[in-house]
Structures are given as structure tokens and as C-alpha cells.
Symmetry: C2
Subunit: 277 residues, 2 copies
């Protein structure tokens, strides 16, 4: 692991690091915030949305003040493998910057686009080995494509994640253009393989039953709300499964990091409460 940048902030340490990831077969960049104080610390994994790198959340979310107060580590990985030898697409919603947190089975993506394994194996191993993290107390959150990633990875890997939340998540890739395009490319035409990457479907199957609540924030001024995000599908699935979910809708807020920063402190508190030692 190489530390490419190190900043002191809010009485904690932020490091940008780079490592060779076995799952993707590429060099991957992420940021890690470690609060001052006695470790090991609980950890929040943040998954970013389409077009983002590790930098967007790190620079724009304004999360570290409250994280420092709560004694919470925050880990922000990249959204896909990258590099000259990595497959790509001209669209912003497929390929580099758009890994969708799945392990691709189809060519040309399968060679490097193994983002489910990357987050749940490489990233968690890196944190466990090199940082003062309590790996029994890890939560996960994210935005848009990363909200989809947070919810689906949490439900598919509940032994890793004790809490989950999301901002403006893609609720059901089975039922929106972004999801249909990406999952067709990465997983093929057979939609049975998509089921375990659909948060609404997983909730309907009772896969969230180990989580006492799911916190979702959604802006009502979000241009993608009706066509791509569809949080009501999470509510319908939760209602059918007897799963508690808290979906907060905010008039006027859009899909940007200005929306995320406005409510990130509530998500940090939500996770910290569930990750108490």
C-alpha cells in the first residue's frame, strides 16, 4: 500500500492510498479517514456514484467533522477499475467510473470489473491490515449507483456489514435504464443473475431482516428520481416483507453533493449508533 497524500483535518488523519487489488487486477485508489483517539474504530464504507472517483466524497461531502466527533473511520473507494488496459465505454454510465459494484461475468468486462469482490475482499482486507479498524463494526452507505452498491453489498454480505443507508439510491436496477444497461453488459441478458443485485428484490426476499432500519434520503428536485431511482420500490418491498425502512424526501434538493452534505451527519449518527462497541 502506498500513501499518495496525507492531510490533517478535524483532529484526524485523511490518507489517499493506492494498492494493487487482486480482485480487479489493477492499481486502485481510495481515501481513508482515521479519527484521533483510541482505536480500533468502527468503520463506514462509502460507495460513490456514476463518474465519481475516491475524491468526490472526500472533498465535497463535509463528513469528517462529525466522523471525528463520533470516532468513526470512513473509507471511500473508487467506483471501478481504471487504466489503459481496462475495458471502457463512451457512455458515462458504463465502464470506467461505472462499475455498479458487481462481479462481471461477460466479456470484455469480466477481466477487471470485479467490484463486489473488490469492496468486500480487497478493501476490507486493506483496512484490517493497515488501519486501526474494528472489522466487527462496519457499516456501508453510498450515493446513487453507490447507494445501490451499499444496499446490495450489505444484504449479500451481512457478515461484513452491520448497518446500511443510502442517498438517492438506484432502488431497482431491474427496473431502470441505468441498471438494465449496466447489468446486461456486466452480467448478460439472463435476468435471474441480476436478482441479487437489486435492492428492492433483496428486501422483498427478506434479506434485510438482520438490519433494524434502513435510512434513505432522497431529494425531490432530483432529476433522476422518477426515471432511475424510484425509492418507492424500496418502500413497497419493505412493506411486503415487514422490514423497517425510513425514506426521507426533501423538497428542492437535487442529486448533487450539496444534497449529500446537507444530510450526511444524520447518516453518520445512524451508523455510529448501530456500530457502538
Amino acid at each position: 500500500m502506498e500513501v499518495t497524500a496525507h492531510h490533517r483535518l478535524f483532529g484526524g488523519d485523511l490518507k489517499f492510498v493506492r494498492h494493487e487489488a487482486a480482485s480487479t487486477g489493477t492499481s486502485m485508489a481510495l481515501s481513508v479517514f482515521v479519527p484521533d483517539g483510541e482505536g480500533p474504530h468502527p468503520v463506514l464504507v462509502w460507495l460513490s456514484g456514476l463518474t465519481c472517483t475516491a475524491n468526490n466524497f472526500t472533498e465535497k461531502a463535509g463528513a469528517y467533522k462529525r466522523a471525528a466527533e463520533l470516532g468513526l473511520m470512513i473509507v471511500a473507494p473508487d467506483t471501478s477499475p481504471r487504466g489503459d488496459g481496462v475495458a471502457n465505454d463512451e457512455g458515462y454510465d458504463l465502464g470506467q467510473g461505472a462499475g455498479f459494484y458487481v462481479d462481471a461475468t461477460e466479456a470484455p468486462w469480466a477481466a477487471h470489473f470485479q467490484m463486489e469482490s473488490y469492496v468486500t475482499k480487497d478493501v476490507l482486507s486493506l483496512i484490517a491490515e493497515h488501519f486501526p479498524a474494528d472489522m466487527t463494526r462496519v457499516g456501508i452507505s453510498g450515493h446513487s449507483m453507490g447507494g445501490h452498491g451499499a444496499l446490495t453489498l450489505a444484504m449479500n454480505h451481512p457478515h461484513h456489514f452491520k448497518s446500511m443507508s443510502a442517498f438517492a439510491p438506484i432502488a431497482s436496477p431491474l427496473n431502470c435504464p441505468w441498471g438494465q444497461k449496466a447489468l446486461t453488459a456486466y452480467l448478460g441478458e439472463d435476468r435471474t443473475a441480476w436478482q441479487r443485485h437489486d435492492a428492492a428484490a433483496l428486501i422483498a426476499q427478506g434479506r434485510a431482516s438482520g438490519f433494524d432500519d434502513i435510512l434513505i434520503d432522497q431529494g425531490l428536485g432530483d432529476q433522476f428520481l422518477e426515471t432511475q431511482l424510484k425509492p418507492h420500490l424500496l418502500e413497497q418491498a419493505a412493506s411486503g416483507a415487514g422490514q423497517k425502512i425510513t425514506v426521507r424526501r426533501h423538497a428542492g434538493y437535487d442529486h448533487s453533493y450539496y444534497f449529500i452534505t446537507s444530510f450526511i451527519d444524520d447518516h453518520l449518527a445512524f451508523h455510529a449508533e448501530r456500530l457502538k462497541g
Copy 2:
């Protein structure tokens, strides 16, 4: 005035706007945050540092939560005129992105580099005309080159500004390479013209006497501390003039926005206290 983007955040409104500025003779971009609630609101003008646009502070400083709580407007202008017809230099520390908040008298800069007038006339007029601002309650702060700008504009225009503070300011352009290069280019070789653009010199002349305190934050891990910033020159000048100044030095903090975001709330409170109705 054209609103180029509008985001809701922290129960307030952030607008990126563009206007034709008489002082610079160019189209200029800035951001304006307006908190909810009864106006007119007190205003903090933020001046950014070398290479920055209006976006850096707006995206990275994490200032708007506390600003919303305090009922403070924040206005973040660009650091220079820009465009194809505007003079430039290959260095990052001269020309576009590096206006130094002076009115240039020398060719080729004088045509557009009128940043002292731009901030104190065009920006303040724009805010007064289009936003619910109380122009009798305006403070100014900034970072690095913008910290220099905040201190010198406040002391040269005390009828406009009731409070001043800075992060890692260039304390004395007369006594550092950045300042010497820029002021030679913009104002010519005669250093008598530089005096009114040197915060330490102005404080020594008693020009800060209308300000009950000056808040300065400085990181001790800042790579420019010894060569360019030299906050001890502000303290020496203040000591000689009987001027109160509060310089806080922070071990490990660098010159980045991670440093600014860590202490911005203290500056917002400092200004709000002095801008109370």
C-alpha cells in the same frame, strides 16, 4: 446577472451566478449562499487563493451548515478575470487565477486585472441589488492570496467591511517571492505603490484600528509557511501598533482546503459575532 446553477443545501440556497463586470470588463463567475429566514442577512465575502475559481471554497470548505445556522450569506468571487482576451502568464502565480486583489496599473495587466475594484464595487453592488443582503454588515475572509486580499481590502475599505480574518494569508507581499513577482507585474517596480497592498505594512500604520480583533489560522505543516506566508510579520506589526490579533498555529495542518474546513466554523462565528444586527 445570470444564474448558472442553483442548489438547495442546509435549508438555504446556493447560486452560481455570472455577470458582466464593469471593473474588469469581463464576464465574472461567483457563488452566493443565502440562508433561509428573514433577511436582510449579514454577508461574508470569501477570497480564494492562487489557481482557485469560485468553485473551490464552494465545494470544499464545508462552510454552509454553520452559515445557515448563523444566518450568514457567503459570497465567493473568482480570483481574477478570465477569457481568451485576457492577459495571462505561464506561471500559476501570475495572471489568470492570480489577480492578487489589486488594480493593475501596468501593461498588459491593467486592461482587465482590476480585482480590488471588482470585489469592492462590482461584487458588493451585485449582492446589494440582487440578494437580501445587509450591506452595512459585511465581513471578509480568505485563504493564502485571498487572505492577503481579505486583510488589505478590509483595511483599505473599512467603510465596506466590519470584520476581517484569514487562513494562511500572505502576510507581506513586499517580503515574499509570490508578492514581489505579482506586484512588480501588476503595479511596477516602484515599491511605494505596493505599500497599501501589504497587510503587515497597513497594520503597522494603524490601519486596522477600527477592527477589535483579527483572526488568523495557520497550519504548521504548510509548505509555504516560511517562504511565502510569514504570519509573524502580522504579529510584529500588530504589536508595534497596539493592534489586537489572534494568530492560531495548528500542528500538522497543511495549506489545503482540508485545513480550511477544519477551522472555518470558528471564522464564521467570529464574523457573525461582529456583524450582529
